[in-house]
Symmetry: C2
Subunit: 215 residues, 2 copies
């Protein structure tokens, strides 16, 4: 896929959804799909689908649609899923452990190479084949192993300190699970999983929904 | 707060971030804040902050800013956090258990009242004081207990089936952790936590970042 144009942030957010939808279609044996059918699956308009695909250089054929497998391959490459990225998890509480047990990330090219904590009772234990190591050994670990992403699953009060530590060690990608906005310098990429935000939005929409039904 | 105007979807997404930022400021003892300082904390423009607050009827004073505590209280009420919502978790794998252990949700008004699974080895175990029950007993449970939200943490292949089940039992809010777009009727509110999407976006941005540095 030739892609000189910079892809917009909302389109980037849709890329994984396209990717998952196309994966599911492939599993169902679907070989081609119209922008309208794909838009129904995605819950967006079909003109948005056509615009997105045109932005990254894929044009469907009028009355024929898109080849599912080739489009899937293009988005796979566009997302860089053919490039293996190494990830560590800092904080081996229940969420850190749940992430470490999750093998789906590896299937998408994200390999968990280390888990770190300061809790003496956890150090040395293994989750799958990955040993929980003491945070004090992180610097040495990063010297000896390429680490692209640090997932931060420590309590909120320590999250900024841990972010500064991993950045000082040269790690450029942070997957933050702490419910705060981390302060990081330019050139560091952050993605947040803010569970409580998502739950608050759900609660808000439910209450608004109730009001509409009762009004 | 008088709020007749419907709040836009992007503003709704920012509400929890305002709420968390204002909570943090209160903990630091900050009593008032300018839209500029708040915009720096949030990583958005100060005109956006002023527009958002004006949308839900809170106007700061020129040269004075916003009262942190009263703004916090307004957003608390706007989000409906004073209304207790009952949540069940379906799927007591590692993510379901991690959610169940998370006491922060309760502090924000979301009470976990039940956990359900089909794995005989887990039925009867407790996470905190909450017993893991067999999914077969869900219908009866929902008859006897108000349930507002079902968190779905089952494997992808079962997620749509579980969503249909909880909807048939009258539950209107779904917090979906399965990496698919659930098909639900109108009037059902869904919020998704798509971990793999977030990770794919992080990976994509890291690769783009690398390209920029190396170009």
């Amino acid at each position: 896929m030739k892609c000189e144009k910079k892809i917009s942030s909302p389109t980037i957010k849709r890329l994984p959804v396209y990717y998952r939808s196309l994966s599911a279609l492939m599993q169902l044996g679907v070989q081609r799909i119209s922008s309208r059918d794909l838009s129904n699956i995605m819950g967006i308009t079909s003109s948005q689908v056509r615009q997105d695909f045109s932005d990254f250089g894929s044009n469907g054929l009028q009355g024929y649609g898109y080849e599912v497998e080739s489009l899937h391959r293009e988005i796979h490459n566009l997302l860089g899923l053919h490039i293996l990225q190494n990830m560590i998890i800092i904080g081996s509480g229940s969420f850190g452990q749940a992430l470490a047990k999750h093998t789906d990330f590896e299937k998408k090219g994200f390999k968990i190479v280390g888990i770190f904590d300061i809790n003496a009772q956890l150090i040395g234990k293994k989750i799958r084949e990955i040993e929980i190591r003491h945070l004090d050994t992180l610097g040495q670990f990063v010297q000896n192993n390429r680490v692209d992403i640090a997932a931060i699953t420590v309590p909120e009060a320590y999250a900024n300190e841990i972010a500064s530590l991993v950045i000082s060690l040269g790690i450029k990608g942070i997957w933050n699970f702490a419910p705060i906005e981390l302060k990081v310098p330019n050139g560091i990429i952050i993605e947040n999983i803010h569970l409580i935000d998502s739950l608050m939005i759900l609660g808000y929409k439910l209450i608004e929904n109730d009001k509409e039904i009762n009004s």
